[in-house]
Symmetry: D2
Subunit: 198 residues, 4 copies
């Protein structure tokens, strides 16, 4: 019923994160409804992004610029004794928004999935070891991962991996989140909230 | 924190249907992570779509081809005495999937929003009147709109607009949907289900 | 941690429809917090209900009164040629609220569960057959069940059971419910809505 | 349509926590369907509860027994230097389930609602002040309230109220809950998780 070119583009959009075929179809109708200049602007922006945005040679955060290092890594004010390991780019943005962290980052590129060797190889663990080895100024490594099964597995894995370097290794504090209620909190969260009282 | 080109593309993707800034950011990281060839394929497909897909001169459904009419409108087997008016392209696909309708379509391009003249002008009501006027073979006009406030308002509006043409005008039957329960059905739905019993 | 009498009452309340142990516990704390007179009123009302409410000898709807028949079954204005079979009491209330149905009811007491003989025996199928046999004035039997798997199975079962009586047997009409959208309607619902257009 | 005694009981059940008229009606039909002995058991249990369960004279937790104090308050092993103030009974149960807290409790009976004097009077603030005054063994008061607006207001209120007694006053630690993700954590939760890292 739908032409081949529409179906192909639905397939391509369906690979975008969180997008299924129905939303992909709505993207197509949206694009068809746009003026030519508007579509050209989207295409041009994607091209420009792909040409000009590169990954920071220290933390792997994408950025645009001449230098090797992103704005955070090249900022002389940031505290180079703190290294915060995170799963993905958006986690860096989440932490930056708190304005409470002044150290550096390292984007691991994923989490440790249970028992899958192939996926493990995609993580930047080699690069992480090199960073820690070559930067003696690092005093504390913060493993800032989700409190999910995948995040926990990654924390355990990295603790073992980084132990030989003799740095202080910490993880995010657990407790009641904003809006959290005792009645619906699981026992582990509530235990942590009690232990971490202040 | 994010470079200008990333922020611009986030803004462009945020205009896509159902997409907010967070998902738009994930699109960017997804694109940055793709190989150059993969991004080129997406860009190429969007370009091709915009160049080669046009709107059917009868029903306004987008299609790819040399002819003026889409596959449905140019299909000699379809019943030209039935015209189904719908809000948008995906509604056409939904009805085609039932394989129960063999007539033609007309995509109105939206619904009647309460009291907003400017939006009303975007609807293809002029074109609709011309279709009905110039195609005496049309015997029944089906107003296949959502059972929402917007859909209902559009049905009322079109009934008045099309009345002078003296065609039979129908709307979709109401009743319990698949999976529907009496206990949670509103009174109007249940009334319709009772009246429409068979 | 909780005393035996509290735990027992939590267990009893947990058997109430839709109630789990957490809400049952909240019931207990609610009752403990009430004045003695308020608790006595609840207890008294339950006792009174159990003593004075009986099931209608025709339709099995619970009611309070001297007669054998409930208000609906003893109402001379109701149309005795229509019999609406329903799963449970609340379905009767839902249909009465529409004010569109003027016939009689019969509460089956459940639906046909797939392949479980023991549960089948709890349905009032014997009583239903007797009602249809002894009331020649019944012209149409409406099987007003949910559009769920259980409801559908019950409709098929009752159609076979009641066929020998030679009455007109109908079911609720299907279609888009109020608020329903074409895009999210399943194919069967949309097919029914198209077929039932008017 | 429904008899007066049914409607009265629906009204009484509708006052139970979390229960609306629809579920209340289902309770009625459930009770009508029970055997007489089963209903008598429910009534008997409610009567017994009301007669035999009393509130602990120290913490206000309901319990059954001869003594003045509940099992927790009369347990010689519990740490009497710790007093945990909570909103309601179920919060006590939640904390006990963690098996991490060995001190005593005090059930305040609610939270501080914004600006409503009448509701404030229902809180056991007078009793709380007496407990703290008369029990010099208390060293730390833990304000274990939800991280909601109501909980926060109560914490601020109690901090001011209890300040004159010169005890250490703490609150639950904030952070990522089990299952929490950085991407969906609010800035305050994430800030707390970073500060509380260990």
């Amino acid at each position: 019923m739908q032409s081949a070119s529409i179906q192909k583009l639905i397939a391509l959009f369906s690979k975008f994160p969180t997008i299924g075929p129905k939303t992909a179809a709505r993207f197509i109708y949206y694009l068809i409804g746009l003026k030519k200049e508007e579509v050209d602007e989207i295409i041009g922006s994607i091209s420009y992004l792909k040409k000009n945005v590169k990954l920071c040679s220290f933390c792997f955060n994408p950025f645009e610029g001449e230098s090797e290092l992103c704005k955070i890594c090249s900022n002389p004010v940031r505290d180079k004794s703190l290294l915060c390991i995170i799963e993905k780019e958006s986690d860096l943005n989440s932490i930056e928004k708190t304005a409470k962290y002044k150290g550096l980052y390292f984007i691991l590129g994923g989490t440790v999935p249970a028992l899958r060797k192939a996926d493990m190889d995609k993580l930047r663990t080699k690069e992480l070891e090199m960073r820690v080895k070559n930067h003696q100024e690092i005093k504390e490594i913060i493993l800032a991962f989700n409190s999910t099964a995948g995040g926990e597995a990654t924390i355990l894995y990295l603790e073992r991996l980084l132990k030989p370097f003799g740095k202080k290794i910490t993880r995010l504090g657990r407790g009641l989140p904003v809006g959290g209620e005792l009645e619906y909190a699981d026992e582990e969260t509530l235990s942590s909230a009690l232990e971490g009282r202040k």
